[in-house]
């Protein structure tokens, strides 16, 4: 059963299984474990980006197609929802037509890009996608009466997905892991008190409902992709990655496969963009189309481990947590280094990007196959000690 669900592609490493379970449980019970809007938005971002990055991994890790237009498709999805609800009101009809329009636009653009890869290969293909993505970004910024320009658009979601909607009459009980840990650290002698203090109540609103839509969508898409890469089709993709010339000689028309992958990846990014708009309820060029975001997607993919899909989950979780909480960590460390010259400067919360960059360099240096690749390597060594 589990083997069917994971398509026979288990994590194949004890530590990796533990990390993945931790992530899945945290996401599945997120609103019940982590109170507060910031935690909520972090959870939502992780779910959305698991879709984005695993779709990207299908292209980059499994087929070796380097595209910088992934954020463009993400943005198309997000703006499709934002513009449709802006123009048609906050109905489910507007969401459906926004999503449909976005998917059609993504389909056409990705089909063109896929066919282009027939003529333009490798680095040149990557450069073309970069140019297309930048062109799209400037179009969105210029058409400000449609897209809101740099200011972006607020997304007015249907009442059922907003904070005013309450499917349950009573508030639900939650158990705050963060409060528990903080209490245990600050007062280790009193675990009972810490446990009691961790219990809280919260209102399950339309926002939580939306979160669960995204969570199940993300889980479903991930399992679908896991099946895809372990299917005969997925094997052909790996063959193309390994030796495209030979794959062609074996009778596989590689351009069809590459185009199919580019299109599928684009459509999934579009869906992810749409859910992002609905859960974040604010869309602008910076949070959907920026080149910085593209680099982040690439980093998540590389840090987690390309060509493993599980790497997407680990990479996204780690990256998003670092992005959101590294500043807090530094502020906390800064409390101890205050007054020490240089060190105090280096540990200020606004230096988070410096530390983040350092973490990235170290992780690529020590784990060239990504976190997942490294875990599997260790597990393999343990099984066959040399």
């Amino acid at each position: 059963m589990m083997n069917q669900l994971l398509s026979g592609d288990a994590p194949r490493s004890g530590i990796l299984t533990a990390v993945l379970l931790l992530i899945v449980i945290s996401l599945a019970f997120g609103p019940f474990l982590f109170p507060g809007t910031r935690a909520f938005s972090t959870l939502g971002t992780i779910c959305v980006f698991i879709i984005v990055v695993s779709a990207y991994d299908l292209m980059l890790g499994y087929t070796h197609i380097v595209s910088f237009a992934h954020t463009m498709f993400f943005g198309i999805g997000a703006y499709g929802i934002a513009m449709a609800t802006d123009g048609m009101g906050n109905s489910f009809g507007a969401i459906a037509s926004g999503l449909a329009g976005a998917l059609i636009l993504s389909l056409v653009l990705s089909l063109l890009l896929g066919l282009l890869s027939l003529r333009v290969r490798a680095i040149f293909f990557a450069l073309v996608t970069l140019a297309v993505a930048f062109a799209f970004l400037s179009v969105v910024t210029q058409l400000y009466n449609l897209t809101g320009g740099e200011d972006g658009l607020r997304v007015r979601v249907p009442r059922e997905l907003g904070p005013a909607f309450r499917p349950f009459d009573q508030p639900l009980p939650g158990f705050s892991v963060t409060r528990l840990i903080t209490a245990l650290v600050s007062d280790p002698g009193n675990p009972l008190q810490a446990f009691k203090g961790a219990i809280y109540e919260f209102r399950f609103t339309g926002r939580e409902l939306m979160y669960y839509v995204v969570f199940f969508l993300s889980a479903g898409i991930f399992l679908f992709l896991l099946r895809l890469v372990n299917s005969p089709f997925g094997r052909v993709l790996q063959a193309i990655r390994e030796n495209e010339f030979r794959a062609e000689a074996l009778g596989y028309r590689t351009v069809y496969y590459r185009t199919a992958v580019v299109i599928l990846s684009a459509l999934l990014a579009t869906v992810a963009g749409a859910t992002f708009a609905l859960i974040n309820r604010y869309v602008n060029p910076e949070n959907t189309l920026n080149f910085e975001l593209m680099v982040f997607i690439l980093l998540m993919s590389v840090i987690g481990g390309m060509g493993t899909l599980y790497g997407a989950v680990v990479g996204v979780a780690l990256f998003t947590l670092a992005q959101n909480y590294l500043q807090d960590l530094l502020r906390w460390v800064g409390g101890y280094t205050e007054g020490i010259p240089l060190l105090a400067q280096l540990t200020g919360p606004d230096r988070w990007l410096l530390w983040f960059g350092l973490l990235f360099v170290l992780s690529v240096y020590f784990f060239p196959t990504g976190i997942v690749g490294q875990f599997r390597l260790w597990a393999g060594r343990r099984r066959r000690p040399t």
């Binding site: 895809l228 005969p232 000689a249 009778g251």
Partner: protein, 265 residues
Amino acid sequence: MSFDQAVLETCDLTISFGGHIAVNNVSCEFSRGSLTSIVGPNGAGKTTWFNLISGQLKATSGQVRLFGEDITGLGPARRSDKGLGRAFQLTNLFPNLTALENVRLAVASRHRIGHVFWQMASQRRDIADRALSYLEQVNLARRADTLVAALPHGDQRKLEVALMLALEPEVFMFDEPTAGMSVDEVPVILDLIADIKRRQNKVILLVEHKMDVVKSLSDRIVVLHNGELVADGEPSEVIASPIVQQVYLGASEQRVDDGEVASHD
């Protein structure tokens, strides 16, 4: 279709790179049940001719016909679908996949299941079993789970042949299948070729430098020299013909009767 109808034909096939004509007006027909060796000194255009037939290169002029159909405009994948099987001279495999997975890709292509994305590849026991049977045929079954990059050169050559077998082609194109193999490995491949010849009524083309091999296996020898077809006929006649003696002696100062004339292109 009559028995004698040509399965594969090249008609005035020509390719030039800039000013250099690598294959010049080569016309040749191959019919069922025949094994034709293609010989010639280095740079004679043998591999280039193969590349024109299997579609890796596009002809400057002339035609390639398979079962009477003009396939000159088709790419290598379509030609493979139509029954042209090719084993490459320089080993050309999927290095980071296992030996079994390499063959499985060929079997999956033959069974046209490359588009299947809803099934696990591992659920298709039929495909894996077939792949394994081809590995057995080339004596590689015990290496099924080894990554190709870790296989010795000789085993990689055998795998190259297994991939072509798995495609179940109408035309088998062997490009120096035994090059770089150790002496005790060569018979495995030669027996295999002889076996295909005996049991299957297919077209076999063989580029080979070892004259003893050529003499013992072939029904016919085609000699290429400077991109042109200079001799074509029964093995004993062709080898004895003055032009062949001249071409080969001119190329390598060796007797042609036995042994290796020239090892690599």
